[in-house]
Amino acid sequence: MNSNPPILEIKNLRTSINENEILKDLNLTINKGEIHAIMGPNGSGKSTFSKVVAGHPAYEVIGGDILFKGSTILNLDPEERSHLGIFLAFQYPIEIPGVSNEDFLRLAYNSKQKFYNKPELDPIEFFSVITQKLELVDMSPSFLSRNINEGFSGGEKKRNEILQMIVLDSELSILDETDSGLDIDALKIISKGINTFMTSNKAIILITHYQRLLDYVKPTYVHVMQNGKIIKTGSAELAKELEIKGYEWLK
């Protein structure tokens, strides 16, 4: 056993939903301190990949393996994967009426604390923790009392995802098109949040369509996914090339 295994290792992964095979023989290795960008045309399997790693029950793994820090996670529930340090920032964060952001964030935070037998925070203690984090994504405390994503603008929803990532301090964060639909100011705020959050002990996967985000968050590698597998891997330069040439030339 490797004493310092990669954070994430995808081996010959094949998955399907409703008997449609989406990921076909996917391989990917991500080490600590790395930021990987995954690009590719619509329908290539990028979002499926993110949900499968997080353990979404709708997808069936029909072959291969997913290793998190050297151990398979295929038999783990989504909440266990979350506790271990896997975070997914959703492409379309869902609205949850009647539940305040503050309660949600505290419950998420305390669930993880409990999992590691660490003390849970009461609302007052948590408030002082959360107010510091709010500044990192430039959100006002008034946002805490609002219901989760309800009536949020597109930018607020995405910032909320980044805030949750910061609160849970996840080791592996998958950001599914967190940059889409953002204006340039919001993009800067989110990029700043990601860069402050990133350390040499963590890894981030950025799923994106645009080179724009990568101007602010520098990727270690850029992958192109097509038809359920990675067809090309390169440096940050690859993204610039794709911006100009599109995906057709790779075929």
């Binding site: 499968v52 353990g55 909440e79 009647g98 949750q164």
Partner: protein, 486 residues
Amino acid sequence: MVNQSKKTLDTNITKLVNQPYKYGFSTSIEKDIIEKGLNENVIHIISQKKNEPEFLLQFRLKAYKKWKEMKCPEWAQLKFSEINYQDIIYYSAPKIKKKLDSLDEVDPELLATFEKLGISLTEQKRLTNVAVDAVFDSVSIATTFKDELAEYGVIFSSLSEAVQEYPELIEKYLGTVVPIGDNYFAALNSAVFTDGSFCYIPKDVTCPLELSTYFRINDQNSGQFERTLIIADENSQVSYLEGCTAPQYDSNQLHAAVVELVALKDANIKYSTVQNWYAGNEFGQGGIYNFVTKRGLCAGLNAKISWTQVETGSSITWKYPSCILVGNNTQGEFYSVALTNNYQQADTGSKMVHIGKNSRSRIVSKGISAGQSKNTYRGFVNVNNKAIGARNYSQCDSLLIGNGSNANTFPFISVQNSTTKLEHEASTSKIGEEQIFYFLQRGISLEKGIELMISGFCREVFTELPLEFAAEADRLLSLKLEGSVG
């Protein structure tokens, strides 16, 4: 495998859905029952057994006559097989040898039954701030804190006792808010009601305790027809709570109750219900048919009546707690959470009738439907031409869980004067797989996630419940719902 984690999720769900109904046991006890069936003779027998004054027998017979001419209402969004009224026992009482002077003489089996339901009637263990009237099938078993309440002039007893001790109050008020021929089930109840609670709060008195009645249907073949009458005299206040459970049988039992509230000038009545009758099994077999007429009369200036209900049980619920706002500046409120799961059907809502000037009403209804159930809100706001300056606010929210359930809203509004201010809001939302996954991905368990969503959805209503019961209601709902997502 991801597949496996889906299976775990599904197993959890199944386990939780099949939470056994905690109150499904039955008590075997020697009973005084009469023959099945309904006719004038049965009414005479009931009246005789209860040693009733002549006016009450006439009240019953008149109601029976009306009922025979009426038809079971069909406008509700409910489907059920025809009820055979000749196949029901109209009087079933635990055998009691002599008149009870103290609880020591109550059959220990009965005390144990209520103990098991979490309602302690014995001196040492009873709730310190709640007076309880316990009704078992057709009769009231015991009423706690009677003497303590009497010191304040508050009368709290079973209706049967009140008929004997305060016949003039009964004759004056019974049937004044819900007339005997009001509707099919009210007429039936007026003919054959057996017991219930009676409560009178004298002028200028704030009732020092929460009053509560606990209804238990035990017998498989008997119907429960109880009647509650609460009178709050001028400038008095009372908070009242009813709870209901029944054993688990695979046949349906009929429950047709009537509740009448009278609030005189400056009086305030708060009436809360936590209804947890047996709801039938996951295939829709068994459960209580709950046809209830509840109405409050705000008779005098500034009177206020507030209904709060948490309806989780019964295979069928047909219930529209209403307020008749006769006095000027009167207030009526209705807060409701109705939850249906499996094959349960609920058609519930409220009626607000504005007659007095500046009368105000507020309806907040939350319907939660899971499984294959049907949940309907039906409301009627009627503003009379005399009700100058009347106001109504209605809000109906529906929450769907899963893909098989059904929610309907039928708000009916009739306004006959132009000074009325009226607001109506409605929303429908859904707890689906994606919401659940959002919680799970953030490390929050399925149970916690649902609990949080449900309690958030119901918050406005739960805050209206007496403190002791708000937490219980919260727990009851999550217990009933957990696992219905998938």
